[in-house]
Structure formats: C-alpha cells, structure tokens
Amino acid sequence: MSDYNFAYLDEQTKRMIRRAILKGLAIPGYQVPFASREMPMPYGWGTGGVQVSAAVLTPEDTFKVIDQGADDTTNAVSIRRFFEKTADVAVTEATGEASVIQTRHRIPEQDLREDQILVYQVPIPEPLRFLEPSEVETRKMHALEEYGLMHVKLYEDISQHGAIATSYAYPVKVEGRYVMDPSPIPKFDNPKLNMAGIQLFGAGREQRIYAVPPYTDVVSLDFEDYPFEASKADHACDLCGSTDSYLDELIVDDAGGRMFMCSDTDYCCSRRKAGHIGAQGVPYAEDAA
C-alpha cells in the first residue's frame, strides 16, 4: 500500500466531485461545473476521468482502463497502475470482470451490465463550443434549449459533402432535453450510449462532469431524410474475423499493405481464444508462444 490517501485525492475534493456526479445523474446530459484539481499527469491524458474514477472507486472494485479500445497503451497502463497503487484495487483487461471501466474514446463492444460503471475521459465537454466560443452564450443556449446552430452545422455537412460528415464526437440529445458531446467516441458507438451501466463523463481541463443514468434515452441528432448511421470500416477483423466490431486500420509495410483489426483488444482477444480466426490471423495459442 502507498502513503497516498485512498484513491489519491483528499476527502473534501472527492466530496465535491461526488456532489457533482449526483447532480449530473439527476440532470442527464447537463454539464456540472466542478473545481478540477491538478493531477500527476498532463491535461489531455485523462485528468477528468481519473478524478471521477477516484471519487467512485471502492476497495472491492475491479478496474479496467481502455485507450481507443486498447488495454495495453501507455495511457491505459499508467492510469491502471496509478489506481492499483493509490486505491489498491484489483485490475483486469476483461470487460465482463470489471466493475469500473475508465475509457478514452471508445465504448467496449461487450454490453455493460447494471452493476458496471463506465467513466469517460472528455477533452471538450461543450458540444456547441466550436460553433460558439463564448461560455456565457453556450450556457444560455442550453438554458433556452436553443440547439438550432447544431442542426445548421449538420445541415452544412450535408450540403457540402452530401452526408453528415461528423464521424466522431457525434452530438446526442439526452432524455429529450440536453444536447451532449459523448466525448470523441466514433459514431459507431453512439447507439451503445443507451445501456444498462452508469455512464460518467469527466473533463479535467474544462472542469465539467456530466452523466447518463442507465436506460436513459440518448438520440443521435439527425434529419428525417438523412437519418443517423453508425458507420465503420466495411471489412472484417483480420485477426478474429468479427464483422460487427469497430475496426482500426493498420499500415503494415511500405508497399501499401494494411490490415483491419478490432479496436477493442479484449473483445478481439476473447474471440481469438474462442477459436475465431480472421483472414491474416493465426490460432491464439500459437501466437502467444
């Protein structure tokens, strides 16, 4: 055990974050201001998510961290070790075994249960920020439910590109009231925002926390004649053969060679363990040797 307070943050900070989480759950999609602390990592590395995780973790939890779907990137490994050290929690890479999952820019492929909590790292929580730089104005727009500007933006996409070109951080309307930025998840993940687990969003630099309780109505904005479409690369995973998971494209040589593979490493790995093999894959045991 370390000499840090449980889960690193002091108790008064955790209480302040916990109060923001409760109000966030009571007003789904509304961004609750909170006094974000400096964390021992730079902004942009998940300081908001880490503070939310610190406020919800208990010693009995099993913690998982994913970064763009992967459990083994620098960011994911260091955050997982951070809470292993400061909160003495068990850690896992298996989605089904985790009780708290901190994520950067993906929702796990496997459906979450009611007893699971998904904590998102959010860079820019305000969906209207790139359309209206003033916080005073965007706050007023949320208060008045004035979201016409967002529809104009999507309409301009259609008039320029013939389709809604927004492919990640695709805006959603929560429970028919607040327009929310689901963090930069691919729009493929948007339908999964309607889930059984508790979703908490933390933006450290921007000092906002928001939440979506289980079974909350989350609708991706669209038009009747241009309905929302959850798109992905039209390919199967080259490692596990999955045709319904979100794929990363990987350049493998200088000759234009490339392969597609699941962005969710745990999903891909458990499929390979179960014997599924993709076009360029090898059986799991052989690969591990």
Partner: protein, 186 residues
C-alpha cells in the same frame, strides 16, 4: 461539550465514504432500488442512513437545513463536529434533513435555468421504505419500478420543473433510496 457527539463518525473515512457513496450513487442512478449503508452512528433522531449521507456528502461548502424535529443540540453538534457544515435556513440549504410533512418544499432552491445543479437535495427520513407503492419510470429505470413514497402529487410537480427541481434521498434506518427530479411518478 458532550463526548457523545464526538462518536459515531466514520471509522476509516476514505474507505467508508467511498463505499457509502457507491450506494448513494447507485440509488440515484437507479431510482426505486433500496441500498444499504453503514459506518455512521448519529445521535437520535437521525437514522444511520441519514448520518451516512451527511458524512459522505457534506462539508463546509454545503449548508444544511434541519426541520425543527431534527434541530436538536446533539444533531447540530454532531453535524458540526463531523462535517463542519453550517446549519442554515431552507432557502440557503444545499442539503436538508427532515420528515416529509415537516419539510418546507417551496422554500428550497430548485436551481436556475443556467445552473440547474444549484438545487437542494432533501434527505427525507421515513419510518418505512419498501419497493411497493407508487410507480416510477424515467432515466435509470428499465421498464418501471415501484417505491413507497410519502406523496405523489408533490413529486409529479417537481418533475414538471425539469431541468430544475429538487432531488430526494429517502432514508430508513440503514437503508436508502433516491428519487431524482427526472423520475416520473404515478
């Protein structure tokens, strides 16, 4: 100062508060579920659950309102010693503790349209808490849930204020349930 008020706080504050918050958060995220909490031994008439919520959520930044039945010297001293929360009027309160009939519902802050989070959370002490009674639906509830509520019309009116409104935590001995403003009661 009586020694009694020095007792009854969390034995291991960081761990006890973390476990308690998980129960409070689950109750808020899943209205209609009843969750068990432990760790506080507050003076009467406060229930264990109300004591746990106060210890977990309150500090010098959260003014607390007590209805007359709860506004005893012991309760005041216990809250002050363990949380440093100022005791205040209903109008200025972030948290309030009382029985349903004694809480002046219209005096509490329901937030503003630009800051709907600046609203009071009421800890309602009840003699009885069970998953029978009024029907609930809304965020956090799969199809529908039921919960023993002291009233129906008041919660319907509160839900109409959305996104403004009050949030409720019902406490009974060591159990609690929550009813955020989004829940539709019938």
């Amino acid at each position: 100062m009586q020694a009694a008020i020095l007792e009854g706080g969390f034995g291991d504050a960081p761990i006890d508060a973390a476990r308690a918050f998980r129960q409070i958060m689950t109750a808020t995220a899943q209205p209609g579920t009843i969750n068990k909490v432990a760790g506080a031994q507050p003076p009467k008439p406060l229930s264990i659950a109300a004591g746990v919520v106060l210890l977990t959520m309150c500090d010098p930044e959260t003014p607390v309102f007590l209805t007359p039945a709860f506004d005893t010297d012991d309760v005041r001293a216990w809250i002050t010693f363990h949380t440093s929360a100022p005791i205040t009027t209903a109008k200025n309160a972030a948290f309030a503790v009382g029985a349903w009939d004694d809480l002046p519902l219209h005096d509490f802050s329901i937030g503003t349209s630009e800051f709907p989070d600046r609203s009071a959370t009421l800890i309602v002490e009840t003699a009885h808490l069970s998953t029978t009674g009024a029907t609930l639906c809304g965020p956090g509830i799969k199809d529908m849930a039921t919960l023993s509520l002291p009233d129906v019309a008041a919660f319907q009116n509160n839900a109409l204020l959305f996104p403004l409104g009050l949030d409720f935590i019902f406490t009974c001995q060591s159990e609690l349930a929550a009813l955020p403003r989004t829940t539709k009661v019938s």
